[in-house]
Amino acid sequence: MRRKIPLTIAFVFGIVMIIQFFIPHPVSRDFYQTMLDWRIIVIAFTYILAVSSLIRIHINKVRRKKTGWGFSYVTLISLTVTAVVGVIGGCFQPTQITTWLIEHFNWQIEQRTVLMVIFTYIQIPMGATMFSLLAFFIASAAFRAFKARNLTAIILLLTAFVVMLGRVPIGELITKRLPEVLQLQNIVEWILNYPNMAAQRGILMGVGLGMMATALKIILGIERGYLGGGD
C-alpha cells in the first residue's frame, strides 16, 4: 500500500498533465494553474522541514564542538536576524514599524526595507565573490586540461589556442592580411558553429529522449527509484 498510493498518484497526475498539454481550453488552463498553486503550497511546507533541518544540524555542531562550529553560530544568528527583520520590517514593502523608524530616525536608505538592505549589501556581494572565484578555477582547470599528454589532448590544446586567440583583437590583427577563409575569427566561427554545435546537438538529442523516457517510466510505474529502494 505504501508504494501503490504514490505510484497511482504519479500515474494519474502524469497522464492528466500530458493530456492537459494538448488542450488549450480554459478548464485545462485553470487546472494547470491550480496544480502550480498546490506546488507553491507544498514548497512552503517543505521549507519548514528544510529550515528545521538546518537549525538542528547547526545546533548539534555547536553542542558537539565539531570542526568549524564557530561558523554555525554565524549561520544561526544570520538566519534569526534576517527572518526577524523580514517579518517585522517587511520584505519589498515597508511595514508600519519600518516606516515609523525611517521617519523617526530620518534614515537615508535607498532600499525601502531593511531586508532589502541586507540582500543588496550583504548577500549579493557575497554571491558575486563566490562567482568571481570561477575565473581562477577556470585558469587552474584549463592548465590541467591543456597538458599535451596524447594526441587527443594535443588536438584539444590546439583548438583551445585557436579559439582563444580568435576571440581577442590581436588574433584578428595578426591574420588580417590573409585570405578571408584563413582569418582567425572566421576559423573560430567555423569551429563553434559546426564541429562544436554538432557535438552539442548530439548530446541534446540524447538528453531529450532520455528525459522523455524517464518521465514515461515514472508515469507508467516502471521506474520506482524515486520512492526509495528497488521494488
Binding site: I23, G127, M130, Q200, T214, G229
Partner: protein
C-alpha cells in the same frame, strides 16, 4: 607668305594668351566655374529628386491607401477570448505610413470603436474579446503627419471560442505515441527474458569503487543531487542513482552526506536514503542529518558545499543532476581535496568543466540510463533500448532530410515542379519538429 602666316598665328596666340592666361579675372571665373560645375549638375539632380519626393506624399486623406483583404477569425489553438485580425498593407514606397488603427464593433454598420494600433511592419492584430459575441472589424492607415486613410471594408463576422485540442501539437502527440509503443514493446521483450546489451559506462562502473574507497578510508561520501528542483528530470535521474549508492553505503556501513538546495528534493532524497538503508538491512545506521538543507542561494550553496569538502574531506564526491555556473567551483575544490570525483549532468555547457576536474563524467543521456545500468532490471533495460530506437528513428529522419535538401538544391533547383515537390516533403519533415 609663310612668314606672314607664322606671324599671324603667333599674334593670335598672343591675343588668346592675353585673354585666357594672363587675364586674372577670366582665370578666376574659369576656376570658379570649374569647381561649381559638378556641384551644379548634382544640385540639379538633387532638385529633380526632391521634386519627385515632394510630389509623392499624399496631400489629401483620400490619396492615402487603405488596407485591403481584411479578415477576422477566431485565434486557433487558444483558450478563447481572442480574435485574430489580418489585412494586406497598401504600397508605401515613400514611407509615410506609421501604422494601422484597428476598429471593432458588434454591429456591422455602426458603433465602431478603436481597439488597437500596430506598427507599419505588422499585418496582424490579436484582439481580446468575449467568447460567443459577434464582432466586426475595420482598419485604417495612419501617416507620419497624423493623417488617416479611409476605412477598409468591414470584415466578416468573427466569434471567439476556446479549443479542445491544440492542432499544432499533433506531431508531439504522434511522437509520444510512437515512443510509448516502442517502450512497451521493448519492456515486454525484456520481460520475456531476452537479454539486451548495454554498453559499458565507466562513470557508473566506478561508483562501487568510489564507495569502497571511502569506506576503506573511513571518510564520508558527498552526494550533491544538483541545484535544480524536483520538476527537473535531471534531478529525478539523480535521485534514482542516489538509491543504489545509499544502499551500497549502508551495506559497507559508511556515511553519506547529501546537502540540498531545494526543500522538496531534500525531502525526497531523505526518504530515498532512508528506504535504501532499510532495504540494506541497516535501518539503525540511518541518520536524518545525513540529508540536509543548506540554502537556496546558488553561490551560497556552492560556498557551503566547498566548506564541507574542505572540513570533512570526503573521500568521494558525486555531483549528479543539474548544475550551472557553480559546477567548476564545486569540482575544482573537490579536486584540490584529493577526493575521487564522479560527475554527471545533462547541462551541455557544464560538461567540459566536469570532464576537466572530475575522474569520471556521466554525459547527458547516460545520467538517465544510470538507474537501468545499476539495477539491471529487465524492464528498465528494455526502456533503454526504446530510447536507442527513438534515437535511431530521429537519425534516419535527419539523414533523409539532409539527402532530400541536397537533391533538391543540386538537381531540381531549375525545375519548378521537382523543386516544389521536394520542398513540400522537406517542409513536412520540418513540420514534424515544430512545436
Amino acid at each position: 607668305m609663310t612668314d606672314r602666316l607664322i606671324f599671324d598665328r603667333i599674334n593670335r596666340w598672343i591675343i588668346w594668351e592675353r585673354i585666357f592666361v594672363r587675364n586674372r579675372a577670366f582665370k578666376a571665373i574659369f576656376l570658379i566655374f570649374l569647381f561649381l560645375f559638378p556641384y551644379l549638375i548634382f544640385a540639379q539632380e538633387g532638385m529633380e529628386e526632391a521634386e519627385q519626393n515632394t510630389l509623392a506624399p499624399p496631400d489629401t486623406i483620400a490619396e492615402i491607401l487603405s488596407p485591403t483583404e481584411i479578415k477576422a477569425s477566431d485565434t486557433p489553438n487558444d483558450a478563447g477570448e481572442n480574435i485574430t485580425v489580418q489585412w494586406k498593407s497598401p504600397e508605401d514606397e515613400v514611407g509615410v505610413i506609421v501604422g494601422y488603427e484597428i476598429f471593432r464593433s458588434e454591429e456591422k454598420e455602426t458603433g465602431f470603436e478603436i481597439t488597437g494600433f500596430v506598427g507599419k511592419a505588422t499585418e496582424e492584430f490579436k484582439n481580446r474579446t468575449q467568447d460567443g459575441v459577434e464582432y466586426y472589424y475595420k482598419v485604417r492607415t495612419k501617416t507620419k503627419d497624423a493623417k488617416f486613410s479611409p476605412f477598409s471594408e468591414v470584415s466578416l463576422v468573427a466569434v471567439s471560442r476556446p479549443q479542445f485540442f491544440h492542432t499544432g501539437r499533433i506531431n508531439v502527440l504522434v511522437a509520444v505515441l510512437v515512443f510509448v509503443s516502442l517502450l512497451m514493446f521493448f519492456v515486454s521483450t525484456a520481460k520475456k527474458g531476452k537479454s539486451l546489451f548495454i554498453r559499458r559506462i565507466a562513470g557508473l562502473d566506478a561508483l562501487d569503487e568510489a564507495v569502497g574507497r571511502a569506506t576503506e578510508m573511513g571518510k564520508p561520501i558527498l552526494y550533491v543531487p544538483g541545484l535544480s528542483s524536483m520538476s527537473d528530470v535531471a534531478t529525478i535521474a539523480s535521485i534514482n542513482i542516489l538509491g543504489p549508492v545509499a544502499k551500497k553505503v549502508a551495506e559497507y556501513e559508511s556515511t553519506i552526506l547529501v546537502p540540498n538546495r531545494d526543500p522538496i528534493v531534500m525531502t525526497v532524497a531523505r526518504q530515498v536514503v532512508k528506504e535504501s538503508f532499510l532495504e540494506a538491512g541497516k535501518p539503525d545506521a540511518f541518520n536524518e542529518d545525513m540529508v540536509f538543507f543548506l540554502t537556496d542561494s546558488q553561490f551560497g550553496y556552492a560556498a557551503a558545499v566547498d566548506g564541507i569538502m574542505v572540513r570533512e574531506k570526503p573521500a568521494t564526491n558525486l555531483f549528479l543532476g543539474m548544475f550551472w555556473a557553480e559546477s567548476l567551483i564545486l569540482a575544482e575544490t573537490g579536486n584540490m581535496t584529493g577526493a575521487i570525483q564522479i560527475a554527471g549532468t545533462d547541462a551541455v555547457a557544464q560538461l567540459p568543466f566536469f570532464v576537466t576536474a572530475c575522474d569520471y563524467t556521466i554525459i547527458g543521456e547516460e545520467l538517465y540510463a544510470a538507474s537501468a545500468y545499476l539495477s539491471r532490471t529487465p524492464v528498465l533495460v528494455g526502456s533503454l533500448k526504446a530510447q536507442d530506437m527513438g534515437k535511431a528513428v530521429l537519425i534516419i529522419i535527419m539523414i533523409a532530410m539532409f539527402l532530400l535538401a541536397i537533391v533538391n538544391a543540386v538537381f531540381f533547383i531549375a525545375t519548378d515542379t521537382g523543386n516544389a515537390f521536394l520542398s513540400r516533403i522537406i517542409s513536412f519533415f520540418q513540420g514534424l519538429f515544430k512545436v
